[in-house]
Amino acid sequence: MSTQEILARMEKAMVEGNKEEAEALAKEATKQRLDLNEVIDKVYVPGIQKVGDLWEKGEYFLPELITSAECVKGTMSVLQPEIEKSLISAKSKGKAVIRTVKGDIHDIGKNLVASMLAANGFQVVDLGADVKLEEFIEIAEAENTDFICLSALLTTTKLAQKKVIEILRKKTSEAGVKFWWEVHR
């Protein structure tokens, strides 16, 4: 298989959500010693873009987005160790710390967001569900994170989001922290 062919088929597999094929091609790419950062730039970046475009056009829905994100995660688990071996660090768009707030155990939505962020080139520190507030902020600080993502589904647990925001506002009044949370009506 030529490099061009591998790259084209990889992108196709990703856009169509064909995980086995995507992972097999990633293995092929490492075997052929292709420049893996180039693979990421030429396959994943435009691939995920295409998936996003199809979503915008109303042709793709959440399940298709998630399947493509699964492909990215699956192939990255093949490529990442090789990239690390070659001592080139993959480019990251930023770091996000994500969790479901304490008292809430809804984690499927949070996991979907985490995998989507990862597929789009963000580094994600996933703290799971039901994490204590203080612990979460401590980790977010230690990790030097760019984004803090909180998930809560119930009126009772949404209060925790408010609290995090208050604490962070106090701590970082001038640091320009971005707030991004999901509000349910």
């Binding site: 995980k19 829905f61 998630i66 984690d107 979907l112 119930l154 009126t155």
Partner: protein, 201 residues
């Protein structure tokens, strides 16, 4: 007066395909569900026989036994009920997520939501029928967390019902565990009202 506490366990859960598609994110129905999603839905559905353990528990109480929250006003009696599909489906979802099978997890989660809803619908029908047998008029089904009935009112329901008997408990933040559980009430009125329902519903 508090009536006896009863359990229902013989549910046959059927699925409304359209609602499942909406739950997994098809905001409008696409012409066809493409592969691989189509097969994934079919495969996850097949697992359900082993993963669903539907049950509900209910009691019918006099107005005097309620906490007199305005939503019970004028009711002669109130039926309260907790329904669940059990914890097994959630355990499977967790396993899927750990294996990077997020789409399957999303689909199974939606199937579980729909199954829980279905157990509530069927329990609701049984309770409405009981109201009619008592010559009373049943209201629609209402759940804490909707409209004027705050989610914290879950505590009232769990005070009156030994939901642990069907494996459901309430956390401090008023969440039911297992997650795929539903609680609700139906008011039974002496007279027909705008809010009471028609026969057969």
């Amino acid at each position: 007066m508090s009536g006896p506490v009863k359990k229902i366990e013989n549910f046959k859960v059927e699925f409304d395909e359209k609602r499942i598609l909406t739950l997994i994110g098809y905001k409008k129905r696409p012409k066809e569900i493409k592969e691989p999603i189509k097969s994934l839905i079919a495969e996850e559905k097949k697992k359900l026989d082993n993963l669903l353990h539907p049950a509900s528990i209910y009691t019918i109480i006099d107005y005097a036994v309620t906490n007199k929250h305005p939503i019970f006003k004028d009711a002669e009696k109130v039926a309260i009920c907790v329904c669940t599909i059990g914890p097994e489906l959630e355990q499977e979802i967790k396993k899927l997520m750990e294996k990077n099978e997020m789409t399957r997890a999303l689909i199974l989660d939606a199937l579980g939501s729909e199954a829980a809803e279905e157990v509530a619908i069927q329990s609701d029908r049984i309770l409405a029928e009981k109201a009619r047998k008592m010559n009373l008029w049943p209201s629609k089904r209402f759940s804490p967390g909707y409209g004027k009935w705050d989610i914290r009112e879950q505590r009232f329901i769990f005070r009156l019902l030994p939901a642990a008997d069907i494996g459901v408990r309430l956390t401090e933040s008023c969440m039911m565990v297992p997650r795929k559980s539903v609680s609700f009430r139906i008011n039974f009125y002496k007279e027909q009202r705008l809010s009471t329902r028609k026969k057969g519903t």
